[in-house]
Symmetry: C2
Subunit: 279 residues, 2 copies
């Protein structure tokens, strides 16, 4: 097959989408397709304009000998509002209420189309941040952390609740579960997090913030830095949370009683990430 | 922006990659871009030829009023051999040996570029199979199950080791851990798996097969069907495994002693999935 512009556009688009945030040199594309750098440059302009037009992300070009181009997923405000609206509709269902004010979300966190949208949404928040690694705690935060990691193209690490033989040596911290007030232990394999790493924490649900605070302690133990915290859903909590500054996609208010009550609404994500007038 | 063919090619490629195995009607593309169906049809031919040429998957068109096109990721034999070779090189490192013949893999299973390749690789095996859901057991199987689910565009469910309040009502089974011979319990939320569902099991590591057999029992309890089983790595095991027919990407042989020994080699995946002469 002779590789024409049309074929190059398809494969360049595929490559950039599969390798977000990775700088690719014009030279490597040029060699791959047997095309002049000037042609590749025009291809990239077309991809850039298309992604911008559809509100999906930016293609940035870095000039110079070691330069090239990379794609960074970034939802427009319009797309972000659409996704948050969908999530609110999906969660706003009293049959999701579980004892203790918890909310059943496992079905949503196992659906690829939702994880893709949520991953791109949260990645938008960190598009210009210096992130080295995504951290989550087992079990239900994992799919979200992985989805965000895919779109930031950074590794994710899983904090475990107890010692597992297949992790090797670990660092552990105690933390107070904000909801149950019980003292628990969480730990992370020593090999997985480097000193000085910039960490984004992702979890499924925020109540008292005890688990979040535990992960913050672990980050300190590893001499790493916290860049930000994000949860899928924020529940109600009486009193002061153990952490502040966490971003939530949706907010859920519940009441157990003769008539179970559950109301979902947008969390603070949209107002935090999109300042007024921005799109 | 006037939407030209070049812009359509970029966005159609993006859409198909983000929605694998999903049939999209020519009509919806036609309306989205304000282009004639005949033009969309030509666009799809270009995408199809490009994906085939680079060994990345097939674009199939379904004729008729309810027809359309879909993209199914499928690695060529050449790409599959390359990925398995990379995995062997990454794992073939004695410092990965852990006590009890276990192998440290958590770093690899947290790297997006590896999960993308492994997801496409395993999805290739089930390209023409009727799969409804991917099943795994917490914790280390989750990233792999999610990666496969993303490329098959099917939901995944997580079997838990003990009861968790946020799962609602569950079905549980006992199983014998093949390595430790201890009896354990695993359970799955009742809401997550439908009767008659076709299930693919994904896990990180196979030794005695006890965990796999436990998941098979769960599938029976839900009156669902097992389509196939796949692990990232197969370890050595003396005696007969509790399950047969599981596919492995790599095989690891280890020996603990004064000089730790670890050898990685390709598992049975390539010979199982690519019959002779096929590419």
């Amino acid at each position: 097959m002779k590789i024409r512009r049309s074929n190059r556009l398809v494969d360049i688009t595929r490559y950039l989408l599969e390798h977000p945030h990775k700088l690719v040199s014009l030279k490597s594309f040029s060699e791959q397709y047997g095309a002049a750098k000037s042609s590749i440059s025009e291809d990239l302009s077309i991809v850039k304009r298309t992604m911008a037009e559809f509100g999906l992300g930016k293609v940035d070009t870095v000039p110079g000998a070691s330069g090239g181009a990379f794609f960074a997923p970034r939802y427009s405000k319009e797309n972000a509002e659409k996704v948050v609206g969908e999530l609110v509709t999906l969660v706003d269902d009293p049959s999701r209420l579980l004892p203790g004010g918890y909310v059943y979300l496992s079905d949503l966190l196992g659906r690829p189309e939702i994880l893709r949208e949520v991953g791109q949404l949260i990645a938008t928040q960190y598009i210009d941040a210096d992130v080295d690694v995504i951290m989550t705690v087992e079990t239900k935060g994992i799919p979200l952390a992985q989805a965000v990691a895919m779109y930031l193209n950074k590794p994710f690490v899983i904090v475990r609740n107890s010692s597992h033989i297949t992790e090797g040596s670990t660092v552990s911290v105690n933390y107070v579960s904000g909801s149950s007030k019980r003292i628990k232990k969480m730990e992370l394999s020593r090999r997985t997090l480097k000193e000085g790493a910039n960490v984004v924490i992702i979890d499924d649900f925020l109540k008292g913030g005890g688990t979040m605070k535990g992960m913050q302690s672990l980050i300190k133990e590893f001499d790493a830095h916290l860049v930000g915290m994000n949860v899928f859903a924020e529940g109600q909590f009486e009193g002061e949370r153990l952490v502040s500054g966490c971003t939530s996609l949706i907010k859920v208010t519940t009441e157990e009683g003769p008539n179970d009550y559950l109301k979902a609404e947008p969390g603070n994500f949209l107002t935090r990430v999109f300042t007024e007038g921005e799109n």
